[in-house]
């Protein structure tokens, strides 16, 4: 039943109980306070007033006494008058106070009344005394006044004061007893209030505890459920009932179940996210690395481009130079061709002359051969002569022998023989000389023939060389022609090359621009990749915080 009460109702019930108790308490309190208040009022209004009045009266009395003294003591008549007026005022005041006192006094305070009567009596007499003094003074009997004052007035006043004091004491007593009564009332009321208060407190505590427990227990359970997320715990005692807490727990349970499911899904997703984050992180770092590479590559490209531009300029220069040179070569080739033609003609002439020379040589050779033959003939003759000389020599010897054999008659003959011998000798010498000369001639002829042969060969060689020269010149001419053509082509292509180089330079400029742009955009990409990397790192950290 209690379980089916909604929390609001429970709270309402509880609070209403407590309110009731509170009301009771308030009422009781109110009553007691009122009582106390009445007492206090009595005290304040009456007792205090009384006391005050009494004090005033006492004061007045004292003041009257003083003024009476002044009245006596003062020499100045104005001041005396003033004092007498003051006394009159005071007496009026005292009368007023006395009346007030009487009005205030409670009728059943007989002691007080008695005392008041006494005081009044005294007062009267005192006044009388005072009046007398005044009269005395007025009459100018100051010394008498002083004496009266010292004796009568003072005694009466003293009595007055003593009675006032007694009144005061009495009033004090009454006040004290009023206080006591008030105190007692207060105590009683306090007790009642306390008891009631305790009871209500206890009830309130119990109520509140019970209420609190009825709320907090399910809440605690709910909280535990929420924090522990343990759906295996038996919450049947909490879930039955039709109160909000039960509903809450139920819904928490459902919620938790759903959350758990969601969590599992989330965990899966997170895992996937983690994986993805890892991939992202690595990819972003790869991107970063790649972009850094691209940046460096772009820088290199820029450097390469500028180098290329420089090189292209150089090439252009070179191609211009080449073109110039090609033209020069072409011109030279023309000259060379002319020279080649002249050369060929010269070669032909040379061949002709060499052939002519060869013919001459051949005719010389013929003459020499004839000479040789003649020499040979001479040789034969010389041989014959030598033979003859030999024979003559022998003959001379024979003649000498015969002459010797003949003896005296042979003397003349021996001379003849001697002569013959000497002649033979001479002839021999001559022939030997001739032979020597003939040998020399023969040697000369053979060497001449050899030289002629050599000459002929040289002529042949010369012809061949001329032919070769002619061939070489022809080849030279051809190659010169080719080179002239090539030179023309080179000149043309150099022109084209120069044009092409210009285009290349322009293209290089474009490349440079493009690479600069690419570099700047890549730098931006780099920054973005860096940010991405950082973000992915953050994500990674965030994801790692989520425990499955």
């Amino acid at each position: 039943m209690f379980n089916n009460m909604k929390i609001g109702l429970r709270l309402a019930v509880g609070f209403s109980v407590m309110i009731v108790l509170l009301i009771v308490l308030i009422v009781v309190g109110f009553i007691s306070i009122n009582t106390i208040n009445a007492s206090l009022q009595q005290i304040v209004e009456i007792r205090n007033a009384i006391t005050e009045t009494v004090n005033n009266m006492l004061g007045d009395t004292r003041e009257i006494s003083i003024q009476t003294r002044n009245l006596v003591l003062e020499k100045d008549s104005a001041k005396v008058k003033e004092a007498s007026d003051t006394i009159a005022t005071l007496q009026q005041q005292y009368d007023a106070d006395s009346k007030k006192f009487l009005s205030l006094t409670v009728k059943d305070e007989t002691e007080v009344l008695d005392l008041i009567k006494k005081i009044n009596a005294i007062d009267v007499s005192a006044r009388q005394s005072t009046d007398k003094v005044a009269d005395l003074v007025a009459a100018g009997k100051k010394d008498e006044a002083i004496d009266w004052l010292d004796t009568d007035t003072r005694a009466k006043v003293r009595e007055w004061i003593t009675s006032m004091d007694d009144l005061k004491k009495l009033e004090k007593q009454y006040t004290a007893s009023s206080y006591e009564a008030a105190q007692k009332v207060y105590d009683n009321n306090l007790m009642v209030t306390l008891i009631l208060g305790a009871i209500s407190l206890l009830l309130a505590v119990l109520m509140s505890v019970f209420l609190a427990r009825s709320i907090t227990r399910p809440l605690t359970v709910a909280t535990k459920l929420v924090t522990s997320r343990d759906l295996t715990v038996d919450l049947s005692e909490y879930t039955k009932g039709k109160n909000e807490l039960a509903f809450m727990i139920q819904s928490f349970g459902k919620e938790i179940a759903a959350q758990k499911k969601a969590e599992t899904e989330l965990t899966n997703i997170l895992r996937e996210v983690q994986v993805t984050t890892n991939v992202l992180s690595s990819s972003s770092s790869e991107i970063l690395a790649a972009t850094t590479q691209v940046v460096s590559g772009s820088t290199e490209t820029a450097t390469a481009v500028s180098e290329t531009t420089t090189t292209v300029e150089e090439v252009k220069q070179t191609s211009q130079l080449t073109s110039q040179k090609a033209r020069y070569v072409s011109d030279n080739a023309e000259k060379a061709m002319q020279a080649a033609k002249a050369g060929r003609k010269a070669v032909e002439e040379t061949v002709e002359s060499v052939n002519h020379i060869r013919e001459q040589i051949e005719s010389i050779a013929e003459s020499i051969v004839k000479l040789s033959e003649q020499g040979q003939a001479v040789g034969e003759i010389v041989a014959t002569v030598t033979d003859i000389a030999e024979q003559v020599n022998l003959l001379s010897v024979n003649a000498a022998i015969e002459a010797a054999r003949a003896g005296e008659q042979g003397k003349g003959f021996s001379v003849v023989a001697q002569e013959i011998k000497s002649l033979a000798e001479q002839s021999k010498q001559a022939t030997s000389q001739v032979r020597t000369i003939l040998n020399d001639v023969q040697k000369g002829i053979s060497s001449a023939v050899m030289v002629t042969e050599q000459g002929s060969k040289a002529a042949d060689a010369g012809v061949k060389q001329a032919a070769e020269a002619g061939q070489a010149i022809k080849v030279l001419t051809d190659s010169v022609t080719e080179s002239a053509q090539a030179a023309t082509q080179i000149a043309a292509s150099s022109q084209q090359q120069a044009v092409g180089m210009d285009q290349v330079v322009a293209a290089m400029e474009n490349i440079k621009k493009a690479s600069a742009e690419s570099l700047s955009s890549t730098k931006q990409v780099e920054i973005s990749a860096g940010d991405l990397n950082k973000l992915s790192q953050k994500l990674k950290d965030l994801v790692s915080k989520f425990k499955a």
């Binding site: 022998l394 000498a400 022998i401 010797a404 002569e419 000369g444 060497s447 030289v451």
Partner: protein
């Protein structure tokens, strides 16, 4: 002339050929030849006079004939020999030598000398001298006496001269062997005089053999 031809043929001759000089030289030679081949009367006179002058000179040989010996001087294997001209019939060139088989080595063969058969002895082989070969128009010296006649092979006939017997030494130690027997003497000019008599009389030269 040789030089001119050489320089004429050599196309790359360092010095050019002075054809003028060549022609003048040729001309001079021609003149000389003409002059020599057909000398003028004046030239002939000049030559004859020169010869007469030479001939008019006193001969070197002097008196005292009895101490002299007429020898035919000849060369044989680089050595000069002489043989008494008394025993020399004549000197004849060596032609158409017909070698005879079955004869000793020193017998070269036979030769036909004006329809007369004469045997030829090679003294080189006889004396044991080194061969020189049949060169230098070898000649035969035909020596004879009453009984014997044959030809001695000689390399060269120097001539007939008179040799003083006073100059002759009988023998010198250099000559050894077979030769020593046949040497009459040696002159101061290293001319070895052979003893013809001994040569002719030698029995060893007679070949009397029959081929079986």
């Amino acid at each position: 002339m040789k030089d001119e031809i050489t320089s004429g043929q050599n196309k790359s001759a360092p010095k050019a050929v002075d054809w003028q000089e060549v022609r003048s030289r040729l001309k001079t030679t021609q003149i000389a030849l003409d002059r020599e081949s057909a000398p003028t009367a004046e030239q002939m006179n000049k030559i004859l006079k020169q010869r007469a002058r030479i001939l008019a000179q006193e001969p070197q040989t002097v008196s005292s004939a009895q101490d002299y010996l007429d020898v035919v001087e000849f060369m044989l294997a680089y050595e000069r020999y002489g043989i008494e001209s008394v025993y020399v019939r004549e000197v004849y060139p060596l032609t158409e030598l017909v070698p005879l088989p079955g004869t000793p080595a020193f017998v070269l063969g036979i030769v036909n000398m004006r329809s007369q058969i004469v045997s030829v002895i090679d003294l080189k082989k006889f004396f044991g001298l080194p061969e020189k070969g049949l060169t230098d128009l070898n000649k035969i010296i035909i020596i004879r006496d009453e009984k014997m006649e044959y030809g001695i092979l000689a390399n060269d006939i120097i001539g007939v001269r008179k040799v003083s017997t006073n100059d002759m030494q009988v023998s010198i130690p250099a000559l050894t062997g077979v030769r020593a027997d046949y040497i009459r003497g040696v002159t101061g000019e290293s001319l070895i005089i052979l003893d013809a008599q001994k040569l002719l009389a030698d029995k060893g030269l007679i070949v009397n053999k029959e081929l079986s």
